[in-house]
Amino acid sequence: MASPPYVELHAHSAFSFLDGASLPAEMADRAAELGHPALALTDHDGLCGSLEFAHAAAAAGVRPITGAELTVTTAPIGDSHQGFQKRHLTLLAIDARGYGNLCRLITVAHAHTRDAPDRRAGAPLLPLDALALHHEGLACLSGCARHGLVAAPLAAGRRAEAEAMLRRLVGIFGPDRTWVEIQRPGLRGDRALARALEVLAGHVGVPVVATGDVHAHAPRRAFLQDALVAMRHRLTLDASEEMRRGNRQAVLVPPDDMARRLREHPEAVSETLRLAEMLEFDLTRDMGYRFPDFASGHAGEGADAALARICADEARRRYHDGPERDEALDRLDEELGLIRHHGLSGFFLLHRDILEIAREVALDVRPEGSARRALPPGRGRGSSVGSIVCYLTGLSHIDPVASGLFLGRFLNRDIRSVPDIDLDFPRDVRARLIEEVMRRYGSEHAALVAAFPTFRARMAIREIGAALALPPADIERLARLADGWSSADAVEDEIRRMPGGDDRLRSRRWRALAMLAKEAAGLPRHLSQHSGGMIVSATPLVELVPVVPAAFAGRQICQWDKDSCADAGFVKIDLLGLGMLSAVEDCLDLIARGHGSAPDLSRIGFDDPEVYAEIQDADTVGVFQIESRAQMQSLLQTRPENLDDLTVQVALIRPGPVSGGAVHPYVRHRRARRRDPSFRPPYDHPLLEPVLEETLGVVVFQEQVLEVSMALAGFSAGEAEDLRRAMSRKRSRDAMLRMWERFLAGARERGVPDDVTRTVFAKLIGFSNFGFPKAHSAAFAVLAYQSAWLRRHHPAEFLAALINAQPMGFYPPASLVRDAGRRGVRTLRACIRMSDVHCTVDDGRVRLGLGMVRGLGADAAERLVTEREARGHFDGPADLVARTGLRPEQVAWLARAGALDAFGVPEREILWQAGTLLRPRRVAGGAGEQLPLPIDPSAAPPLPEPDRIDRVIAEYEATGISTGWHLMTLVRPALPAGTLTAEALRDTPHGREVTVAGMVVARQRPATAGGIVFLLIEDETGPVNVIVRPDLYEAHRALVRADPLLVITGRLERRERVVNVLARHIEAARLPARDAIPLEEPDDARVREAVPGAQNFAQGRRGR
């Protein structure tokens, strides 16, 4: 086969947001299919997908070329660009220097995108003058036919301007690095334009080069591309004709086809080959990033020596003389050797530095005298927890020698990517820490990691629906029907479900909606900040990856997401806020306040039988990581007995193990082992025994995926990383196919039968990257145990702390209060005299905080408490308003929450007074404040008192909690005869038909469950698990999705100790008819509104 006559040097991926219609991997794979030897990715003003593309292309056998299409202006730097045109210019990296310059130029282009007062994102723009400062190593192509710097004026007949622009480019890049770009996009007039460009190029003395300006990898995406353009301009497709391309020619085609399309420009075509030769820079190889080499502060001491010194000192301090210290020092030696081998000493010192910053921030943030100040500022998780160097440098608080944890994945001899180090912080520390780290390392050396939110069903429907000019009401209805977990693939099904759905699909517009939503699924939408990741480098970051300002002032984001940062080998630091850490700290604080001192969590051990008894009974509401419905049902069967078991437990109930078919076998094997301690679990193949022994024969931990590939198929650590990479993105079928072939070949070499190989590989694919590393799990298991311990031994403080840390966790505060109540903890409603801003513990009872009252917020609550402590208790509503400036509705909410009961004034009267009392008003020009004219309270009209039912509902409305009756107590009289309580279910035998009712606490429809919906409902005696089959769900969708009070009839299933009701019939629970006072009678709608927010499918809980 003759070598291809053409190389594409101008192509866009979906990282040209709302313009390119294909993922980088799709472009790469398609290019390979079509026989392209190389391909340049030139997204708009960014390199967001460039590393992803480079790896995908290299894996597919296509040489990746790195570049970008820059939006430029001829306005002088610093001047307003009003009145100046925006034009396009294509830049390609010749060498590493050029790449660095490209990053700098893109950074400059984005530098002012957040200058608006509200920091709303503006469009990037590069002043042409800036090119002169950063031109070396770059090839400059004059831009696309429509907007190119040279082509645009030429097309408009302004030849002199076009020539001036071209000469300006030559002035900057020189005639050896400037090309006139020739395109044939298939528009009227482009032939003449191309000819004129050739003439101009000849006149000025620069070569011409042909490009395609590709925007999609396949013709079907060209339809989406049209829609994206419409969306970008916020127009309908009908109205955006001028902005769109007008045809589907900007699609990747075989090199021969391009050569034919451009046959009138043979020199421009052959130049693509010559230019491609010149562009040697390979992003997967030549970036030039090195780990930071850290100065330790001791003059002349290198990083290796500094790290060794610090660790040795620390080891001697923490380990007593004897076998423990010997083992510690041995492991230290071994680890330091590995660390030296990989050149990572600076990396560890860097982390220690971050923790020092964290310590300072923590002291700053935590109040004087609080028990918190003695706590370490954060916790390490991730692969670091098995490392003794991490322990000694403070990254981890788990003693790996004592806990028997080993290095494992971390610091593997052949490792190609940098180890992860993740640090969890309580929320208060974390927010300040990010700022402080940014500040210390400076904008040249630190940036946040990017995230690229993708098109989800709801958004795709709304935006594409608008572009198609479909009726807004219909679109909205469709969007609402699409669940958080609906894939955009399924829009066609959703349309069909609509009334008249089949008819709609007869219309082209509706069919287009279904098709486009499916094509758009998973494409990146825009650049945003990743929640906690940041990268730090010694080389100025801005030469390695472009950096853009963030919405948050003072922060900046690099253009790569966490996968690309990992591929690039950046030191990535994840500073995560963990609500549970905040809760644990608060709990210790509360204990100290009540008892004088707090327990030392590092000394409580991990073997309290009472704690494990509760865990094994799934009595774990509020316990970190093991409180969810799925976890609880699992705990009843797996019955963890120690920290190792908890470590597996934390990792087990996740999409990875579930899809990988690990959960049921693990449970079975565990049961078998309980009955017979000598039980040996079966393995798919004996080669897997050493890897899977600790998890009873199944893959539970993320690194076991790689370890299995190494054990069964002989993958090297590097090949295992390739497998990880192939599974980490929207998966490329071709990449996975290549992996399978290698896997099969390797397994055959080891004598593994093909059917076994197939089985194991399928499990690995199911598991994919959706699991937890063991050391992550271990760190979380520690926190889970500590929370369970605190819950057991200090239940009141634990409850108060959990409520204070909301929103977090699986259960709304109302359920937490109920659960604690069943364990003997009483909760008192917020009180104007007794409450603090936050929840506190008073003589073993939890006192709700004033900050919980709706409409108040922390600020108003603070003011209130401060004023009360300064000048004494409030006499009454008038006094309260006068001294705190609370608004009438805030006083009303306090009253409804029961917080003003201490005033001894009927609630109606408080509300009346709150409505009529005025705050002091300033008189303009007056000497002082005009005092309010209080209206004599005794003149209030007689209103009936809200009765007890109203009080309950009012309290739910005002705080989300009832400290008195459960809502279901009010509803019970109207329930069908024979409705059982949750408690009564305990004595009901398996197989019996039952009716239960309750408040919905959680709704879940895991992707792994084949359409089954799990409901957790709660009545006044406890929770009930309900299973709703897909067909029943379809029949009662609205009810199941949205109604907060349900009556369920179905079959009771009791397996082992797990109890579920298999729903057969669902209806809404109605309130009893009331013949009470007409005024303010809580009606059905109001009651339903008052129910606290449930955990809804994948969206978590919405706080108030």
């Binding site: 298939g186 009227r188 007039g189 045809n247 020619q249 082209r508 517009r509």
Partner: protein, 85 residues
């Protein structure tokens, strides 16, 4: 890039066009006479309105037909040819 006026700006008429292997028009048969296409001055694709009930998918050719008449011909996706002017 001036154009000579196109006669008869009426609706496009079906045309019999003989295309070369590459797809460009080679000859047009009008009034029973076969006239050669002397030059293809420009060609472009219009592929639009695919979301409506009247989608467009055409290849246009701005041609000079002997003995020197300028015309606009296009080929629909169905393969049918039309001529403007």
């Amino acid at each position: 890039m001036g154009t000579r006026s196109i006669r008869g700006l009426g609706a496009p008429q079906p045309a019999r066009v003989i295309a070369s292997p590459g797809g460009a028009p080679h000859a047009v048969i009008t009034d029973g006479r076969r006239r050669l296409v002397v030059a293809v001055r420009d060609s472009w694709r219009v592929q639009d309105r695919w979301w409506t009930d009247d989608p467009v998918d055409r290849a246009y050719f701005d041609v000079v037909i002997e003995p020197g008449r300028v015309a606009l011909v296009y080929r629909e996706a169905s393969g049918d040819w039309f001529v403007h002017g």
